[in-house]
Symmetry: C2
Subunit: 335 residues, 2 copies
């Protein structure tokens, strides 16, 4: 990938600490700003709810970046402190992410249902009507009934899950565990607990950890199963993709630290893997809803359509990732 | 498309009748051979059934080619005779096609069900299990139960339809209407009822009708809805594709007559449109089976998955057609 080539020029006269500390401090300041915003808006009006949601998203974003940086560059930091705070930030961002994930999933599924059951029919009609199984508009009408019921079922289930996740998030934000995390981040904003090795030049101390994050990502990408032998409905095959998503994130953050700016190629690739995750989880939610006892066949049918549709979306997201991925393409595309 | 450019050289000294008559006579001889083969094998052993099926396919093939040629080049033939025989051959090949279509549809759906519900699971397992809707193998197991039932339901329905179509085909082949068709084809094998204009040079008399068939096809292709605004579940949007399939067939046969050999590009494009039709009809059959009263939700769910899967296959076939289509690509791909 050779992305660190002129890092040595830009950071030639900086210590590792002088590169790492400002990055962490800026993220810590963002964390504290988002937290304040979230507290001010979390129990107010609808507009407040929206601001609270955005604040929670910003809180997750800074948590992930701080946590990722603590993980990748732990050798330049106080290692016990870094590992502890990383774990606590992972707990926090995981807890906050759940509410958002249910909301996103419900939106995605309702949109897909709408797409599947169709808006107004166009003027074009079929020319041939061949036999009792010839395609006709009955299929969409039948799907419409089931789609409405499936939508209501998903809305009930995912709204319930979301409400629970919301309570859990509020509870977490009020806990002493969270206050300890907030205190640690507040300290980080003013002073970063560096190891003595952080006084060495940045290009010596940061290059290897960043390189390791990159190599782990490249290995994961190379190990992705080829798309030729597609088993679009086999969710067990999603695991290496989810793993790649996490490794890409770590590499992306390390790149931000070392180069001082995000890499648009990595951003696009990360977005494709996020889409893959979203579609795969939406498909699983449709399958899970279809296991609800005593649902009508029409509802189950619409959920089946939805499941397949989202599995295909997951496949499309894989394609999008491959298309966005400019490195080591031979390893990516050959079986 | 400029495919008739050197037709004028190869057929410079032939009359239209001298090009058209041998083509029709060969197809008529094929028809009679297939009919004999079909009669010899239609009520015998399993191996005989297979031969009878192949004979029926050959019978359909020659019927379609004779009918298409009679239609496209009707101005060079006795028009009343051509139109009558064309209609009778359409009736015959339509009747014979139904049995084959049900068999193909069932195979396609059972294969898709197998694909969807999965063979043995690979060793790779998911790494993350996030929340109550996290993807897991339950989805496939649940699908497995429904898939088996859906398979049994489709097998029952499509086998019944196939059996009925088989009886209808046998009845048709024993009817006086069919005997009249067979007599007309036998006459055609020995003498083609040409119009007086058939004595004019081939390049004068055959060029225009062949050109018209081509222009109708190109217009239909240009009018295909763009794939960008996909509504994969809107079966009403299939109609222009089915129409294009029929026009491509007419153009393909006209090309065979005029150039003396099939065009591999047209063959590939035709195959993609056949696939499109098969997938669209399989999706409709899954939707139709899902309307069976009192089916279990798991069965309905599997049929929903199948429906969506076949709609995506139909979409893939459209892509295949576009990829195979080398002419007027601007008209094909722009909205």
């Amino acid at each position: 990938m050779r992305r660190h080539d002129h890092q040595t020029t830009t950071q030639a006269d900086l210590t590792a600490g002088a590169v790492l500390a400002p990055y962490l401090q800026e993220r810590a300041a963002e964390f504290l700003r988002s937290l304040r915003l979230h507290r001010e808006h979390s129990a107010s009006s609808d507009a407040g709810t929206r601001t609270a949601e955005e604040a929670a998203a910003a809180l997750r974003r800074s948590s992930r970046r701080i946590g990722g940086t603590l993980h990748t560059f732990r050798t330049v930091l106080d290692p016990a402190w870094a590992e502890h705070l990383r774990a606590e930030l992972a707990w926090l961002s995981g807890t906050l992410a759940r509410e958002h994930a249910y909301a996103t999933r419900l939106n995605r599924l309702l949109e897909a249902l709408h797409h599947v059951s169709g808006g107004p029919l166009p003027a074009a009609r079929k020319a041939t009507g061949a036999g009792p199984h010839g395609p006709d508009d009955k299929d969409r009408a039948a799907l419409g009934v089931g789609a409405a019921r499936a939508g209501a079922l998903l809305e009930r289930q995912l709204t319930l899950a979301r409400t629970r996740a919301h309570s859990a998030a509020l509870q977490a934000l009020g806990s002493s565990r969270f206050h300890a995390v907030a205190d640690a981040v507040a300290l980080l904003a003013s002073e970063v607990p560096l190891a003595t090795s952080a006084a060495a030049p940045a290009h010596e101390m940061l290059h290897d950890p960043a390189e390791r994050a990159e190599q782990q990502l490249l290995a994961a990408v190379a190990a992705l199963p080829p798309d030729g032998a597609t088993e679009p409905y086999n969710e067990a095959l999603d695991a290496p993709w989810h793993r790649t998503r996490l490794l890409l994130r770590l590499h992306r953050y390390a790149h931000e630290v070392v180069r001082g700016a995000p890499d648009p190629v990595l951003t696009a690739a990360g977005r494709a893997l996020d889409l893959h995750r979203d579609a795969a989880e939406a498909a699983a939610a449709a399958a899970s809803a279809a296991r609800t006892p005593r649902i009508a066949p029409a509802t189950a049918y619409a959920l089946g359509v939805l499941h397949a549709d989202q599995r295909h979306e997951a496949g499309a997201a894989r394609g999008m990732f491959r298309a966005s991925w400019p490195y080591a393409s031979a390893a990516v595309t050959t079986p």
